[in-house]
Symmetry: C2
Subunit: 427 residues, 2 copies
């Protein structure tokens, strides 16, 4: 089974430019060949005229199951919002609820060009099932806490998840442990996860880190260290870290993580909306720290529109630094693709390059956002809209075509989510 | 000719809530009656089930003709961008070029729910023609400068524009003078416009004001006053002012304008992208200053997506103030509707209220952004996407239906803009 994309313009991240009139041959789940007028017979041909091909986007931090809470409790402080609004209603969710809300979020992700997500939630086998069904690539990271005294059960559950889902679906699914945050996990629990990450899993950990000033202040008070210093002291940074937020990362912490496998995930919409602050993206990039990008969950974003996320992340740092040249469009696109892939531990993902996984997003250039066609790298970040995404390929397979989700019934998913939400509220 | 919108949910701005199951009767160009199960025979019935009706949005500051420059020169400082990139190429535009780019921008505006624009550009008769054709409401404000020594000619041209277009198309078109900015107009020229505004026109002036630190610093150096103090000293504030940007408005200036008809227009995307800074929206609102909202032009935004503009404006101020409750969603919706209308001098526009002009935007609630349906006021600002806008009514008439622009050929407009841009660059 192969697919020939004919005569398309594509984003070459390494060269930081758009290459026109390229033919791209996809064989099985990989990019087999890139060239001009490739002389191959293909089972399937896609006409690339007036289209723009990018690597599929990597949404490196989200909570797919939270769609129910979209626009449910806004304009509140993070802890108030979590403790008094989100957690009580979240406790009522059952596995099937999460299966359906995850499907809705996955649809939103695909429709904005995302081919890989990193999800932190629970009932992760259900999230895995939804991802497998939709055809998307997913890193399942069980958000674990032990403030409820159930740490042991979580670790056991994670073991099962890892056993049953790691590398499932042609390797599209990966499983990574995720201690939720330093304020929801005990020191012992964090230490245990750090240890198991190295011994039993793949030396990769996902965690919320330095999201709010309160978190930082409490950490200093309780442990005499800032959050990143603290998790380092527990051995977490011996693994590769997918560090969601890092809004309040300090200069000392930047020095500390510089030579480690530490990947901050930038979530601009959520950080702005929850008034967490401005992640120092420009400073982190200048320190050669590889950053990824994420939407966070529907409860704090309040959507999963990755194209909009790139736009917001792309413009806000210019005002923060009062420098129009700060964080240029190409840097945002790197975060959104290859750097996100690296953050999640994928070696051959996030570039349009021979031998790389065929995760690809196709924009329709015959749209208002791309008219006229000037700098297409700027266009992707500053003017494009998710409705310009026409097709999405994941692992060599179309998961969206002609703006239609291929493997899920979008209307039915919305209907079930609406019905379940009515039921959840009445429980 | 009348239209009955049956059984719809609508945004009541005055009550700050959503009213369900309403019938809304539109007669000619006005909202005639609002109620439950209205017993009227209508020529046209629109089924409002699963739809959300809002007042049509008011894009209170834009430059419609600038679509050519979308993604043309990004990541540059304002003055460098204007003087070295935009102005030289802008000088090559002819009236027909502006007619077509304005059409493209108008399409983008309509597709994101805008029913009224306030445009500052030149060849404004062409912009007026495009607006009349599209069916949208428009305030034509000729951006005037006299740094080129052509002040007299501009004033004469404006006189003609006012004579020929004021209240054209059933009153849909209005004409307002617009001295471009204090750094492109001489003191005498500004004084003359201030005088003519009161004597010959409608005591309404549109101007770029306090957009950048450079503008403020130069004003202090040159005139010993900040920009708003300076224009006040010239008599401009005796008219009602549509004050684009006001990013660097000072506390003293806030005191000065408090009791005047002074309406700052917030352009979040442009202010962020050009690194102009953060407009003190929270402070302005706390001082009871009525603010409007705009997209600015495609050259600095880089699109005309008003729904995205509301989202960005809605979240960024929370991080600026480190307060999650700052600038709540309803305040953004007020800026986007009735306050924008007031800023532009319309008395009976921007509310869904009997007797008001029938400028209405219809969102499709059967979309991912609105699933599930929690707080719809939050949804409009935080999760909605312009692709959720299904229909737009202006002056009692559908100008978009089933997501299709009614009175313009969208594909043709894109084609002509692309062709003209190739030609412009070769001139």
């Amino acid at each position: 089974m192969n697919l020939l994309i004919k005569n398309i313009s594509y984003l070459d991240i390494d060269q930081e430019k758009i290459i026109d009139n390229a033919d791209i041959l996809v064989e099985e789940n990989k990019i087999k060949k890139i060239g001009r007028d490739l002389d191959v017979k293909a089972d399937q041909v896609f006409d690339g005229k007036d289209k723009l091909l990018t690597p599929g986007f990597v949404n490196a931090h989200t909570h797919l199951g939270m769609s129910y809470f979209r626009n449910y409790a806004d304009d509140l402080a993070l802890m108030d919002w979590l403790e008094n609004e989100i957690w009580p209603i979240e406790a009522k969710l059952n596995p099937e609820d999460i299966y359906w809300s995850s499907k809705l979020s996955i649809i939103e992700n695909i429709k904005s060009g995302v081919t890989t997500f990193c999800d932190m939630y629970y009932e992760m086998d259900k999230v895995g099932d939804a991802a497998i069904e939709a055809g998307i690539r997913g890193v399942l990271t069980r958000g674990m806490t032990d403030v409820d005294g159930e740490g042991e059960a979580k670790l056991k559950e994670f073991d099962d998840l890892y056993k049953n889902y790691q590398n499932k679906a042609n390797g599209r699914i990966r499983v990574v442990p995720a201690p939720h945050a330093i304020y929801t996990c005990s020191t012992e629990f964090l230490k245990e996860i750090a240890k198991r990450s190295l011994e039993r899993y793949d030396s990769l950990i996902h965690i919320h880190l330095s999201e709010t000033i309160t978190e930082v202040e409490n950490s200093k008070k309780e442990y005499g260290m800032t959050p990143i210093e603290y998790v380092n002291s527990l051995g977490l940074l011996d693994s590769q870290i997918i560090a969601a937020h890092c809004v309040h990362i300090t200069d000392e912490e930047i020095e500390l993580v510089k030579d480690k496998k530490f990947f901050p995930v930038y979530n601009p919409s959520s950080n702005l909306k929850l008034a967490s602050g401005f992640t120092p993206v420009d400073k982190l990039l200048k320190n050669n720290i590889t950053m990824a990008m994420g939407t966070d969950g529907d409860s704090s974003n309040n959507n999963q529109d990755f194209v909009e996320e790139m736009h917001i992340g792309g413009i806000v740092n210019k005002a923060v630094t009062m420098n129009e040249k700060a964080v240029p469009a190409i840097e945002i696109l790197k975060m959104a693709t290859v750097n996100g892939a690296r953050a999640l531990g994928f070696e051959n993902l996030g570039l349009i390059k021979e031998g790389y996984l065929a995760d690809l997003t196709i924009f329709d250039l015959d749209s208002n956002s791309f008219t006229p066609r000037n700098n297409l790298i700027s266009a992707l970040v500053y003017s494009a809209n998710s409705s310009d995404v026409e097709a999405v390929i994941c692992d060599g397979d179309f998961i969206m075509k002609n703006r239609e989700i291929v493997k899920l019934d979008e209307e039915k998913v919305r209907q079930v989510v609406n019905e379940r939400w009515e039921d959840i509220k009445s429980r």
